[in-house]
């Protein structure tokens, strides 16, 4: 490479570089156009199409989509008793899972932050993140194995002589079923397991932010550890709880895999969406159903924001 050609090659590159350097806005635009173009067309475009579809209806006779705006499909979703059933069921499960996750996560997070030595704390952090990184589907499948009729859990209960207890629990209508892996209780356990790390991490972060001096002050004024926890720690970790609950709530609300794999026959919103677009081919109904979680999550997000969740994230 001669000096002359090297200079000329760098000449063009340098001229372009300088050109862009002098026009920062142009350069910015250049950088942003490809990703924005992608997002605009692929993602926003899809969302828009989804919302649009929820305003269409399916013709009863021809089973084809009628491209005329109507509120009929949306109304169907919120008025038909079977549909309301589905929404309520999903919402109940989401709330129950959120509460359970919070209850289980608190002692773990509290121990992690307050009592663990630095080495143990690191172990806990990695230990909590590890399951999060494991494949989602594999975890669901694992639980199906564990909860199965002759799976690990029933073996363990048998070994402890608690088989009768299991049968009694499975006999409770509403949450029981033929086996754990086809009951709401089983589904509940799986949901709690799956989203637990998403609750623990923001909670731990929030707990870290409570200054040690507050706890000392509380003890100094005569409070026992439990009282300190209820009166000082818990209120201050509300943002962390709110942040974690956003995950558990929205993840449960929209999930359709877990209810199909480990589930009772009752439908959940996600399953409904999946089924309607698949075999039934009723895209408008599927779209309308998917509007429900969007709305519910938006409402929940605004509530969580008020509780300070976004500062905790």
């Amino acid at each position: 490479m001669t000096a002359a050609s090297a200079a000329s090659r760098s000449g063009v590159l340098r001229r372009t570089a300088t050109f862009l350097y002098r026009r920062p806005n142009f350069y910015l635009g250049l950088l942003l156009i490809p990703p924005l173009l992608w997002f605009g067309t692929v993602y926003l475009g899809s969302l828009f199409t989804l919302l649009a579809n929820s305003f269409y209806a399916i013709d009863e006779f021809t089973a084809r989509i009628v491209y005329e705006p109507t509120l009929a499909t949306l109304r169907q979703v919120v008025t038909q008793p079977a549909h309301i059933d589905i929404i309520v069921r999903t919402l109940t499960m989401a709330v129950a899972v959120t509460i359970a996750c919070a209850i289980i996560a608190l002692p773990i997070a509290n121990y992690m932050v307050r009592y663990a030595t630095p080495r143990i704390k690191a172990l806990f952090y990695v230990g909590v993140m590890l399951p999060m990184w494991m494949s989602y589907l594999v975890k669901v499948y694992a639980w199906r194995l564990i909860l199965a009729k002759q799976g690990i859990l029933s073996w363990m209960l048998e070994a402890c002589g608690l088989q009768g207890l299991l049968d009694a629990v499975l006999g409770i209508p509403g949450i029981g079923g033929p086996s754990l892996s086809s009951s709401y209780l089983g589904m509940f356990i799986v949901f709690v397991y799956m989203w637990l790390p998403y609750m623990i991490l923001p909670l731990a972060a929030s707990l870290e932010r409570v200054p040690e001096s507050l706890l000392q002050a509380s003890a100094d004024l005569g409070a026992r550890p439990r009282q300190t926890f209820w009166n000082v720690v818990l209120p201050l970790t509300l943002p962390g709880l709110a942040a974690g609950s956003v995950f558990t709530f929205s993840l449960t609300l929209g999930d359709y895999i877990i209810p199909s794999v480990v589930g009772a026959p009752g439908y959940f919103i996600g399953m409904m969406v999946y089924q309607q677009q698949g075999t039934a081919g009723n895209i408008p109904l599927a779209a309308a159903f998917s509007v429900v979680p969007i709305v519910l999550i938006m409402i929940y997000l605004s509530l969580a924001k008020r509780a300070g969740a976004f500062d905790a994230l």
Partner: protein, 336 residues
């Protein structure tokens, strides 16, 4: 011969704040020039404007007589030593120093040779293969110096280069920098908030305050004849008399400065020397500084005056005693 650096009415704003407000100056080739001022005074912004890291909102900047206002930093014959050295951690010391040659596509062998030369110049020839993180603060500073000089720029900019060093190291580096500049003969522009540093090293000093240059003069002139109250206080900490007291003592309301070493303390009952100004007050504090003793006196009119003396006799006025403070009329420097 055209000035090495020239500012003509340069301005730089950040929203409402005028960081640099209509600054004009001219720096001669081969000069050791200091820009002095408190933080936020605009001196660092001016340095960055010379380097090209910022573009002015108004005015022109000329290097060697050429208008460089729109030129990128890599198009200017100016190099900078950064306050925190900005050494590239993923390169060795030698690679850092050779960087300026590398981007100019100088052959590898010559890069190495010249980089070693520069390291010898700053007395770090053996540390070429180390990484910046393994060096001490003083060593890093020399590396950044070597790196900035390898392209043999016309102008070297230094942004508070001695701030991070301890006292002894700082004093050593001051002497070294001065020698280096004399040897290389290039223009040094030096930003600092330490007036002692500026006065001891520079040929001329520009004192900045709130985006403007209050005074641009040799160190001696700045010290002996400050132009404004700000310069009087900032450079050398002179006493500034203004307002009513000034009116009473000089007959005019114009403020003036008196250096502490020109202020003498006398017994209240002493006769007042001719051609002098005097007031009475109470001694608040006596500080022993080794070679000098400083006295803080609260005048009856309320101001605080500093008197400095190398004599021991100022010590006969202990804290709380009434004194007369007096200085000759010549010692008063009129201020704007």
């Amino acid at each position: 011969m055209s000035a090495a650096i020239e500012f003509r009415g340069v301005a730089r704003r950040y929203g409402e704040v005028r960081a640099v407000d209509d600054v004009s100056l001219s720096i001669a080739p081969g000069e050791f020039f200091a820009m002095l001022g408190p933080s936020g005074s605009g001196k660092t912004t001016c340095l960055r404007l010379i380097a090209g890291f910022e573009t002015p909102d108004g005015g022109t900047i000329l290097l060697d007589g050429q208008d460089v206002t729109d030129r990128a930093p890599y198009e200017r014959d100016v190099n900078t030593v950064f306050q925190d050295y900005a050494l590239f951690p993923h390169m060795t010391v030698l690679e850092n120093v050779a960087y300026g040659l590398r981007v100019r596509k100088v052959p590898r062998e010559e890069q190495r040779r010249r980089a070693l030369e520069m390291l010898e110049l700053v007395k770090l020839a053996t540390l070429g293969d180390r990484r910046p993180l393994q060096l001490s603060g003083g060593q890093r500073q020399r590396v950044s110096l070597a790196r900035a000089l390898i392209n043999r720029p016309r102008v070297l900019l230094l942004d508070e280069p001695l701030g991070a060093l301890d006292l002894k190291l700082r004093e050593e580096m001051q002497i070294e920098l001065k020698n280096l500049q004399r040897r290389l003969g290039i223009t040094f522009v030096f930003v600092t908030h330490d007036q002692g540093e500026a006065l001891s090293m520079a040929d001329r000093v520009a004192v900045f305050n709130q985006g403007r240059i209050e005074q641009l003069d040799t160190p001696r002139t700045l010290y002996m004849k400050p132009a404004t109250t700000f310069v009087a206080r900032f450079v050398g900490g002179a006493n500034v008399i203004e307002g009513e007291l000034a009116q009473r003592l000089t007959g005019a309301a114009q403020p003036f400065a008196v250096r502490a070493e020109k202020v003498r303390l006398r017994q209240v009952t002493d006769a007042v020397p001719a051609a002098s100004m005097h007031c009475t007050g109470t001694v608040m504090d006596v500080q022993y500084h080794g070679a000098t003793t400083r006295c803080q006196v609260r005048l009856d009119s309320g101001e605080l005056i500093s008197a400095a003396s190398t004599d021991a006799d100022v010590a006969i006025f202990p804290s709380g005693s009434l004194v007369m403070v007096e200085w000759s009329r010549d010692a008063a420097v009129a201020l704007r």
